[in-house]
Symmetry: C2
């Protein structure tokens, strides 16, 4: 009856799914929210969620949080390749994205917003621990065989190094990190990441 | 005439110095502020500033920022000892202080406040780069002989690792870092710090 009403294939469906995802992430955190629950809250078939958001939960989170690119999809891409160069690919891709003026202001705004909003922080924590750095551990032949607690520790160590780099270079602006060419930072930090995966 | 007026030796002098320091740090940043300028703004002799704040600029900054202990004094203390264990002493002392319920809530509040207040961030940036991690570089026989740009880079790399650890374990709460015993974190992170000093 109402031509602007919710329907499969319409823009309203997409909006309804996004709104439902925002509510589910806020209520349950990233790890606790499910695509099924989001579909239910939006009143749509779960397959429709996949139709609109091919990247699944991570793609929904990226859009809800207004992050300018899907980090989990980016990480998935760079994990393809020799495991002994994972550290290098992570640091290089990270710097390429953050150094890009198309992304940097939004990423800086995003990371600063996380530290003022407790609810946002809890959601991001689950996202970072599971989808981003959990993925990195799972991609490494040695690290992925470790017990869960050890895997979580390594994911945390890698996450803290990358978080510190983002804050030091782009937010706080520590002169030694701001002035360094990306290549130099890759050279110094990649072995740290690789060490957390291999030892 | 006024018994509550500013005078050498009175509580008002101390307060006047603190207020002047707050103004100077805000106007010039940490690196740009001088004890002489602070004394002038407070209308007191520079020797009085040293009398009230033995730790000098760092002690003033610590009190102005309401940080519950003087980080530069703490770092100066742990730098005494064998240079090949600087990394270990830094990480261990850092975790001892941050894990202490007497300090942790204030430190977490402080670090979160930095990311919302641009002016505060600029001041902290100068403090961290010069007094904290500049000191660490200056204490290491190899690192202190490097060219200034390289010293700044290493200070930045160490700072970013420690910042990432603080945020990951105490602010964002990444499970792998929260659950890890301090000893395990020392074992994994100390070699990273030491590597930035030695290579």
């Amino acid at each position: 009856m109402n031509p602007r009403g919710r329907r499969p294939g319409g823009a309203d469906t997409r909006t309804a799914i996004l709104e439902a995802a925002r509510g589910e992430f806020a209520a349950r955190g990233y790890a606790g929210a499910s695509l099924r629950g989001i579909a239910r809250a939006a009143g749509v078939d779960p397959r429709l969620v996949h139709h609109y958001f091919e990247g699944g939960k991570s793609a929904l989170f990226t859009e809800v949080m207004a992050i300018p690119l899907d980090p989990a999809a980016t990480v998935a891409k760079i994990l393809q390749g020799p495991p002994e160069q994972i550290g290098e690919r992570i640091v290089r891709t990270f710097l390429t994205v953050w150094d890009d003026p198309q992304y940097q202001p939004t990423l800086v705004g995003f990371i600063r917003s996380v530290f003022v909003d407790e609810a946002r922080m809890v959601q991001v924590q689950g996202y970072v621990a599971t989808d981003i750095f959990g993925q990195v551990i799972a991609a490494h032949p040695h690290a992925r065989q470790l017990p869960p607690r050890e895997r979580a520790l390594r994911a945390g160590l890698i996450a803290s190094q990358m978080l510190g780099l983002a804050l030091g270079r782009y937010v706080v602006g520590l002169p030694g990190l701001v002035r360094a060419p990306a290549g130099t930072l890759v050279e110094r930090i990649a072995p740290v990441i690789q060490g957390h995966l291999e030892r």
